[in-house]
Each structure stands twice: as C-alpha cells, then as structure tokens.
C-alpha cells in the first residue's frame, strides 16, 4: 500500500505546526522521518492516523484521496501507529491486550481467547517477534512490550506502520533486535514510517530520509550517501560538532572514593553488589550498562537518595556514606538526575523556583525564614541566559519548556554552583542534537575546571565520546574497566561486557 501526504498544513491558532508538507511512503520501504523535538513530526503523524484533521492538503492512499474523521477511519484504511508511550493494560495478558476493542467472540458473546492466542502466535511467528501470547504485560521487559504494540497494529491488518521514536525506551541490544523486526516487516511488504531524532539509527534502518524542521520538509536524502554531519546540519539548521574535545586530560587527586558498596532495593534484593570506584578531579568516569543493572541505584546511593547497606563513600576525604542529601549537596556534589520530569524539576513551578529547588535556603536567596524572591529571580535570569535555557520569562512554568530546555535548566542549576563533583545520569536522553552538543560541552567544562565527573548513560556513543575511563556494570557488579586515554575501547568490547560476557 502506498501512502502520500500532499501539501499538508496544520495550524493551532497562530502556530503553524506543519506547513505544506509532502511525503510519500511505498509498500516495502522504510521512510525515516528525522527532526528535532518540536519540529512537527508528531503532529504530522497524528494527521496521518486520523487524530487531527489537516487545515490544507490531502492524504492519498493508492492513488485515491481519503479523508479521516477519526482514528478508526485510519485504522480501517490500514494505517497503524505505535506510540512512543505504550498503551497496554499491565495486568492483562499479551493476547488480551492485542484483541482489546476488537475481541473475537463466540456464541453468547463468549470471549474467544483461544483464537486470539493462536492469532497472536501466528503473527508473532510470521514476523519473528517471539512473544508469548499468555504472558502478563507487567512481567515483560520494555522491548517485548513494544513488540506487543506492533502485534496490536498488525492484528488490525495495518499495511502502513508509523513508529514514533520507537528506540527511545530500548537498550542497545533491544534496538538491534528491533531493527531486525522492522526489516522483516518491510520485507513482508509493509510500508513503514520511522520517526526519530537519532542520526545513526536513521542511517542504519531507513531506505529514504525526509528531514522536518520548524514544520517544513527541509531536505530529503539517501542514507547510502548521507553522513551524520550532513543530516544534523539539515535538521538543526547549522553545523553541529559531534566530536567532544577531550584533549588535555589532567586527572588530579581522587575526589570520590567508593569502597565495597552494596545497595539494596526496597524488596531487599541486591541492586549494587560490592562495587569499588574512584573518580579523580579533572576526569570523566563513564558507567555503561544495560538499564536495570544497578547503575541507577549506585548513583542514588552516591547522592544520598538510597541508603548504603554496606561499604563506604568518601568525598573530598570525608565519609559521606550516611550523610543527608543536603549535606552532600553543600559539599559540592552536583546531581543531574535520571528522571528530569519527576525528580529533576517540578513542572508546575516557575523556572525561577526550579532554579533554586535545592539552594533556596542559601544565604544568597534567603534571609531568616523568608526567601528573597527578587534575588532568586535575578539569579535565575542570569543563569538561564548563561546556560541558553530558552524560555519567555523566568516566571514561566518549567513544564512549558521543551525537554531540551528543561534539561538545560537542571544543568544550569547544578553546574552554576561551586561544584567539586558532577553526577550525571542519562544527561541527554531524549534530547535533540543541539541540546546534546550543549550539555556535553558544559560537562566537559566542569571537567576542565577540575571537577570529578561521573556519567551514567545507556547511550554507548555518549559514554565513549565523553569518558576518560569506562566501567561496565552487569547485575550490580563492575564487570569490565577500560582506560580510554590509553587505548580507545571498541564498542563491541563494551557491548559484550554489558551483556555479561566476560572479556
């Protein structure tokens, strides 16, 4: 099935989300739709799957113009969307989720789960999805849940699949498996639209690439000849530097020393198992690992959000194993948390309030019991300007900023203090190229100032680009260590260690 979007324009009030966009995707090909956050990718796809109606332009399927008034029309026409955020009932089985809304029923409206299971098994086998129809969703890893979403779409006989930022939630291994699935779907004659802002992924999987910027198509390219740098320039609108300048490594004294640290989860299972680490001033230590192997717990233990069951954490010569979050903070420990929406900032609070979220009590901002809001606002404006946080005003709610600017706000708050160590967890997850470049440069600036920098990321490229030393965590232990300044490690070496294969 071939689908064409012709000169689509979609406005929201005065805002033009899509302007004159023309796209086509044919059966048996993967169209990569590339664009930064806010470029209008999701709006365009919501037009295609019937959620929005275009103000101008039309959708043409197999040469016939069609009009969708609701998502049901699009599904009936064979267009299915796999959303970034899954829509699954956790306590239902795979088969139950797949048939939800289109349940096969027998006599007396009896729910025919056997047929459902069989159908799921058949789809799963045909495209190499390997999903057990009787498993409960809540017991499945994220990567498998995503396959369930794909089965859902296929079950409704979709010929065009829209995949919205499908790899955002996946680990590197899961991404590889996922690409295999996308290829088998393509070879089976499905038309696929793959939405992403990740350059290497689009180069790997797409047959053709269209780039969207500020609501318009600004370029098309052939992945066989295009380079990352070309695509990034088209996407962002200016040249982007991928190489982080790591010259002049001058590691100083050991600042953060972790010894035999063990951390337990709430259910008393071991999250971090007897880990010892040292981070020196002026160096970046990268922690690689597949998500859920104890990296988050390690970081929370260092920052005081999870208790250490055993072992010691020393910072600047002081034992902080049992120190409060605030005490660590006052010593100069900056923390860029993993979950910026839930932990790093308060979306309902203003930019200014978020800028002092962990320093409002400081004598610069508080006198007696009172917060000096004038001083706070002044400082917040200075920091926002210095760290390129794009907001209309410091009185705007942080929740109204884009993801990249929210993260820059957090980086501004944490790095503009007098810090001695920076703990950054997933510092650029889900951000666009421009913001990633900026945040990386800020982290390197902290390193140049002699801070100890600890970075945890599930993006192997990010770890490789930034780190002087790399450790790999697997099942709560450190299973491998690489010194990037001696010899740059191969991606495959780290990947194997991440999978638990001893080097």
């Amino acid at each position: 099935m071939d689908v064409e979007l012709k000169a689509i324009t979609k406005r929201f009030g005065a805002v033009v989300a899509n302007k004159d966009v023309t796209l086509q995707v044919r059966a048996g090909e993967v169209l990569g739709l590339l664009g930064e956050n806010g470029a209008g990718k999701s709006t365009l796809m919501n037009v295609l799957c019937g959620l929005y109606r275009p103000d101008e332009g039309q959708i043409v399927i197999n040469g016939t113009p069609v009009q969708f008034t609701n998502p049901g029309d699009a599904i009936a026409a064979g267009i299915g969307m796999v959303h970034q955020h899954f829509m699954l009932v956790p306590v239902f089985t795979v088969a139950e989720n797949v048939v939800l809304g289109v349940e096969p029923v027998g006599r007396l409206n009896h729910l025919d789960l056997k047929t459902a299971s069989a159908k799921v098994r058949e789809i799963s086998a045909r495209y190499g999805l390997t999903v057990d129809p009787d498993a409960l969703i809540e017991t499945l890893p994220v990567g498998v849940q995503q396959r369930v979403e794909i089965i859902k779409v296929l079950f409704r006989s979709a010929d065009v699949l829209i995949l919205d930022e499908p790899t955002a939630v996946l680990t590197p291994q899961e991404v590889e498996d996922f690409f295999g699935i996308v290829r088998s779907l393509r070879d089976a004659g499905k038309a696929i639209i793959f939405i992403t802002h990740k350059l290497n992924e689009i180069l790997e999987i797409a047959d053709r690439i269209s780039v969207l910027r500020a609501g318009r198509i600004v370029g098309e390219s052939d992945p066989a000849t295009a380079t990352k740098a070309d695509l990034a320039e088209v996407m962002v609108g200016r040249p982007v530097h991928f190489e982080v300048d790591r010259s002049g490594a001058a590691p100083g004294d050991a600042m953060l020393v972790i010894k035999d640290l063990t951390v337990l989860r709430d259910d008393n299972t071991i999250a971090v198992d007897n880990v010892s680490l040292t981070v020196r001033g002026g160096e970046v230590l990268g922690i690689a690992g597949v998500q859920g192997n104890g990296q988050s717990a390690l970081i929370q233990a260092i920052t005081g959000l999870m208790p250490a069951a055993r072992g010691t954490i020393r910072f600047l010569g002081q034992d902080i194993t049992h120190a409060s979050v605030r005490a660590r903070h006052k010593l100069g420990l900056a923390h860029i948390p993993e979950d910026r929406q839930r932990m790093g900032l308060i979306p309902d609070f203003t930019v200014a309030e978020n800028m002092v979220l962990d320093s409002y009590y400081d004598p610069r901002y508080a006198r007696g019991p009172q917060v000096q809001w004038d001083a706070v606002n002044q400082w917040a404006a200075t920091a926002a300007a210095a760290f390129d946080v794009r907001t209309t005003s410091v009185f705007a709610k942080a929740g109204h900023l884009s993801g990249g600017n929210q993260q820059k706000l957090i980086v501004a708050r944490e790095l503009s203090r007098d810090t001695k160590a920076v703990i950054a967890a997933q510092p650029t997850r889900g951000l666009d190229v421009g913001s990633i470049e900026y945040i990386h440069s800020r982290l390197m600036a902290a390193r140049a100032e002699g801070d100890a920098v600890l970075i945890m990321s599930s993006e192997l490229d990010e770890i490789l680009a930034l780190s002087d030393r790399i450790v790999v965590m697997f099942k709560g232990r450190i299973v491998a260590e690489f010194d990037a300044n001696v010899e740059k490690p191969e991606k495959s070496q780290i990947g194997l260690a991440m999978a638990g294969v001893a080097a």
Binding site: Y52, H329, R342, M343, I346, W373, Q378, A384, A385
Partner: protein, 379 residues
C-alpha cells in the same frame, strides 16, 4: 555588543513578567462566578420539582440576598459564619498545597474549641489582655497536636492521612462527649453534657455592640484576616512554604532537593491543625461561649469545600469562606421569609462545588465569557 552586554539584555528580558494569563483569570474568577449562577438556577429547579411555586422561589432568593448582605445585621451574620470557615479552610488549603488531604478539620475544631474553653474557665482570674490570646493559643496548639498525630502516623508508618484523620474525627466526637461529663468540665448543676461557660475575660469582644447589642460580629474577624495574611506569607514567601509546595507538587523532586519529607509532613499537618483549632476557639470564644456535643456543626467539612473552591490559595479561601458564610446567613433568612428549608443551602453549596470541580462543564454551558480555544494541542 560584547558578550556580557548581550547576556545582560537577555537577562533583563527574562525578568519581564508576562501579562496575567487569560486562562488563569478564567479559571480563578469566571468559572466560580458561573458555577455559582448555575447552582442558583439548579437550586430553583430543585424547588420547582418539589412543588414550590415560582413566587416563593423568587421570595426565597430575595431573602437569601437580604439575609446575607441586605443589612448591617446580615453582613455581621455573614462574617460570623465566615470566620471559622476561612480559618479551617486556610488550614486545609495549606495541607492540600503540601499534598496532604486532611479530612480531620472537624475533629481539630472540636479539640481546639474544647481546649480554649477549658483554658478560659481554668485561668479565669487572668486579665483579658492575657487570657483571651492565651485561650486562642490553647485552641491552636491543641488543634496542632491533634492533627500532628495524623501527620506523625503518616511520616513514621505511612498510614494514609485520609483514613487516620477520619478516625481521629470519630475519636474527637466521643472524647468531647466524655470530657463534657467530667465534673471539672461540666457546668455545675447540669445533667446534660455542657461545659462551664467561658469567662468574659476570655471572650472575643463583640465589635458592633455600640450600634446594636444584637450584632454578633466579634474580634475573630481580625484573627481571620491575620491568618489569611500569615498563610499567604508562609506559603509564598518563606523557605518552609517553598518546601510545603515542593513536597505537594512532587515528593520525588523534594527529596532530590534535600528536603526532609517526614518533618515537612508533620509540620504541615500541625500548622493545618493549628488553624482548625483556632477556628474552634473562635467559635467558642466568639459565638457560643461554651462547648456542647458536636458544636463544630460540620464546619470542618464545609471548610474542605471552601478550600477547594478557593483553589487552595489564601485569598481564594477568604472569598470562598465569605461566600459560604453569606449562604449560611442568607439561608436562615430564607427559611424565615419564604419557609424554604435551610437544606436547600446545602444543595446549592454542593452544586457550586460540583461545577467548580468540572470547569469544562461550566465552559460548555456558558461558551461566552471564555476565549475560544482551538481543539487539540500542538506537539
């Protein structure tokens, strides 16, 4: 332009306040006004449906207006009814801001009021300037302690405050009954549970007796206004208020920021209880003059509505409390003039809350007054 100058310019631009958001204004002012109008209309429909004729309905709404704002006495009664609602409502609003759903204002009012009475008659020898403020303080502290129990249970054991405050309410009813029958509390010569009277030196003085000895407006109105100012200052100007609001908006972010969650829960509950206890003390020292079983008369529950209607903002709570006070005062007049039961006021109050809670419904009923908004959101 140098780098510094351009940074300065960017900074100054960021410090400009945007004009008040139209949507915010609609939510804060227009929605409540329309909600009140719809509630009055549906109240009339209810009366019609129960066989009341149109003329009586008209008379009852006139009486509602006259009885609430139509005379000095009406205004005085409105304020008297509003004082405890605002005080307790402030406490609940503060709790909501901190993420605590305190259902226990009723019990805190009872305990605070009882403590104020006991303190008053126990130290009746003290002069007015000492006894009256100390009696109020006794009420506030007792309310704080009583609510603090629920706060401590939440912080230490995770027991949900909704459950524990409801249970504490039930305990407070029986505890009050029991204490009112103790020989040192019960009025001498009475067999029914009535406390000794509050001595004159502990009473909140009536303010308008020089005008008409029947006017009941008392000095509690100043306590109420001070409390509004205090809660505003606490929530929006202090470190503690920032911690309350942060804990309420995002407990995880508050923990990340190094705030002490369990301590904040206990302090927030205790402050809320102090305000409710103050409401109880105001009732006994300003209006009732003694404690009787159930003297709180549901104020603690109406105050939940007041706090919600006031959007958990101190100024909003003040206006919402005045509105509910007016409904109470006017409702009594309605009963006298038109013979319509005061229960109707309860229905109207409930309808106001229903429509406040459903702003989209109000927008649908009254499309004018609201700026048209495009459907759907961008990106």
């Amino acid at each position: 332009m140098s780098v510094n100058e351009s940074l300065d310019a960017a900074r100054d631009k960021l410090l400009q306040r945007a004009a008040p958001d139209r949507t915010e204004f609609e939510d804060l002012v227009i929605v409540p006004l329309f909600a009140f109008a719809v509630a009055l209309i549906l109240g009339a429909v209810t009366m019609l449906a129960t066989g009341v004729d149109l003329a009586t309905i008209g008379r009852s709404y006139v009486a509602l207006l006259v009885g609430s704002v139509g005379s000095v006495n009406a205004l005085s009664e409105t304020l008297v009814a509003a004082i405890p609602l605002v005080l307790a409502g402030l406490g609940l609003a503060l709790g909501f801001r901190a993420g605590l759903f305190n259902i226990g204002a009723e019990g805190q009012i009872l305990m605070g009021g009882l403590a104020a009475v006991i303190f008053g008659f126990t130290f009746s020898a003290l002069p007015f300037v000492i006894l009256m403020p100390l009696s109020l303080l006794a009420g506030a502290l007792t309310g704080a302690f009583y609510a603090g129990i629920a706060g401590w249970l939440r912080a230490a054991t995770g027991a949900h405050e909704v459950i524990s405050t409801i249970m504490l309410n039930l305990i407070s009813y029986r505890l009050l009954d029991y204490m009112l029958s103790l020989p040192w509390v019960q009025r001498e010569g009475r067999a029914d549970p009535v406390s000794r009277s509050v001595p004159d030196a502990a009473e909140l003085p009536r303010l308008l007796e020089w005008l008409d000895p029947n006017l009941r407006l008392h000095a509690g109105v100043f306590v109420m206004l001070l409390a509004v100012a205090f809660v505003y200052w606490l929530l929006f100007r202090t470190k503690l208020g920032f911690e309350f609001r942060a804990s309420g908006a995002s407990p995880d972010a508050a923990r990340y920021a190094g705030m002490h969650a369990s301590l904040i829960i206990v302090i927030a509950m205790a402050t809320a209880g102090a305000l409710a206890g103050l409401a109880g003390a105001n009732q006994v020292l300003g209006v009732l003059g003694r404690a009787t079983p159930g003297f709180s008369a549901g104020i603690g529950f109406d105050a939940i509505a007041v706090a919600l209607l006031g959007r958990s903002h101190p100024i909003g709570v003040l206006f919402a409390g005045l509105l509910f006070g007016a409904l109470q005062a006017g409702g009594r007049q309605m009963q006298v003039d038109a013979g319509v039961g005061i229960d109707l006021i309860g229905i109207i109050q409930a309808l106001v809350i229903v429509f406040i809670a459903a702003p989209l419904l109000v927008r649908a009923i009254f499309p004018w007054g609201f700026r048209n908004r495009q459907k759907g959101t961008h990106q």
